[in-house]
């Protein structure tokens, strides 16, 4: 591996790591969800500083080309993350639905719709 590439990779992964920490610092990313990204960033830094780790990993899994070992790990990690996100989205969709229903029911309780004719007029004029 050329030194230039190595420097680029190290700089890139360190910047990525700093970027994520900064996102958490300015509260744009919740620490709960940032943990996995911090871990990933840390992994990038380790791999770019000590590329031998990938060779070691490939040897252990008996994969001939080290880059394939790297791809395997990263794809596996990505699939896990996407799946976790799908689970989170489903949970949120369920909660949002429940909130909307509760809000609709409460609105109907608080503001009964058998309203006075004056209100009715106002309502009918609204869309124009």
């Amino acid at each position: 591996m050329s030194n230039t590439l190595r420097i680029v990779l190290i700089t890139g992964s360190v910047l990525f790591f700093v970027f994520i920490i900064n996102m958490v610092r300015i509260k744009k990313l919740e620490l709960k969800y940032a943990l996995i990204w911090l871990l990933t960033g840390f992994g990038f830094v380790v791999i770019s500083v000590f590329p031998r780790t990938v060779f070691f990993l490939a040897g252990m899994l008996e994969i001939e080309v080290p880059s394939n070992a790297l791809f395997l790990c990263i794809i596996f990690l990505l699939l896990l993350m996407v799946f976790a996100l799908t689970v989170a989205v489903s949970r949120h969709a369920c909660r949002i639905k429940k909130l909307i229903q509760e809000l609709g029911l409460l609105k109907a309780e608080v503001n009964p719709s058998e309203c006075a004719p004056a209100d009715r007029k106002k309502d009918q004029n609204l869309p124009e």
Binding site: C94, I100, Q101, G104, K107, S113, E114
Partner: protein
């Protein structure tokens, strides 16, 4: 919130004198008509007129699934109670809101009726009779007498497939599992209030009810082709519909649950 008013059931007796949309719904009424509506301002007035001419003692609630048109003010103008959802959550979510309302207000029977004019309210007394006779879910079927609007040929094939699948998985013959014209008992109201699929819910919920060992029956109804507006199932969504509903039926048939809690 649902479930906290169950004690009111004892006082729920039909008063006879009380006609539709009475204010003191909690004590005097037993039957609720749930009308899910999304952009149905053109169809609702005719439906309300028909409902006013229908005999029987019932309340009406329209669940307005965030319509873009005047659905809400049309309901108000006719003095019909309406739940307006702030965000569109789909037919399943809207219907479920109706069941939650029915549960929290202690209704004994809930009848679900589409807001698009396909369902003739004249059958309401028949539905009520079936539920009073001890059935938990009563479905209005187009295919018992094969009269009226029979849907397109491709759809009938799909519906027959679902019928076959339900028969295979539960052993019960349901001729029109996709019908959205149905009546529920208290047990089914609380089941649906707790858990109801978001889209294309009908066939799946039949299986859920059957799997909970509740009694399902069908009565023959005549449906009309919709008057205004478009059906929610377009040709593009057809494949998704078939796949989703098939999987949903299979999953519903392998899960035997009585008390359902949604999103933990």
């Amino acid at each position: 919130m649902p479930g906290c008013h169950t004690g009111q059931r004892k006082g729920a007796q039909v008063s006879g004198a009380e006609k539709m949309h009475s204010r003191n719904t909690d004590i005097n009424s037993r039957t609720l008509i749930i009308i899910p509506a999304h952009n149905e301002e053109k169809n609702l007035p005719g439906l309300f007129r028909a409902l006013k001419n229908t005999e029987g003692d019932f309340d009406i609630i329209v669940v307005n699934d965030c319509s873009d048109d005047d659905t809400e003010s049309v309901c108000r103008a006719h003095g019909i109670k309406v739940i307006s959802l702030p965000v569109n959550i789909g037919i399943g979510g809207a219907v479920q809101t109706g069941y939650q309302y029915a549960l929290s207000h202690g209704y004994d029977i809930a009848i679900q009726l589409d807001g698009d004019g396909q369902h003739d309210p004249g059958y309401i007394p028949l539905f009520i009779k079936e539920i009073r006779e001890g059935f938990h879910l009563c479905i209005g079927s187009r295919f018992i007498r094969k009269e009226g609007f029979q849907s397109s040929r491709t759809r009938r094939i799909g519906i027959r497939f679902f019928s076959f699948l339900i028969k295979l998985l539960t052993g019960f013959e349901i001729t029109d599992p996709t019908s959205g014209y149905r009546a529920c008992s208290r047990e089914v109201i609380s089941l649906f209030a707790g858990d109801y699929p978001k889209d294309y819910p009908e066939p799946e919920t039949v299986v859920t009810v059957l799997k909970n060992r509740l009694k399902v029956t069908e009565i023959p109804v005549v449906m009309k082709a919709r008057e205004n507006g478009a059906s929610s199932i377009t040709r593009i969504k057809c494949l998704y519909y078939m796949v989703k509903v098939t999987i949903a039926i299979i999953i519903a048939s392998v899960s035997r649950r009585r008390v359902v809690t949604e999103c933990e």
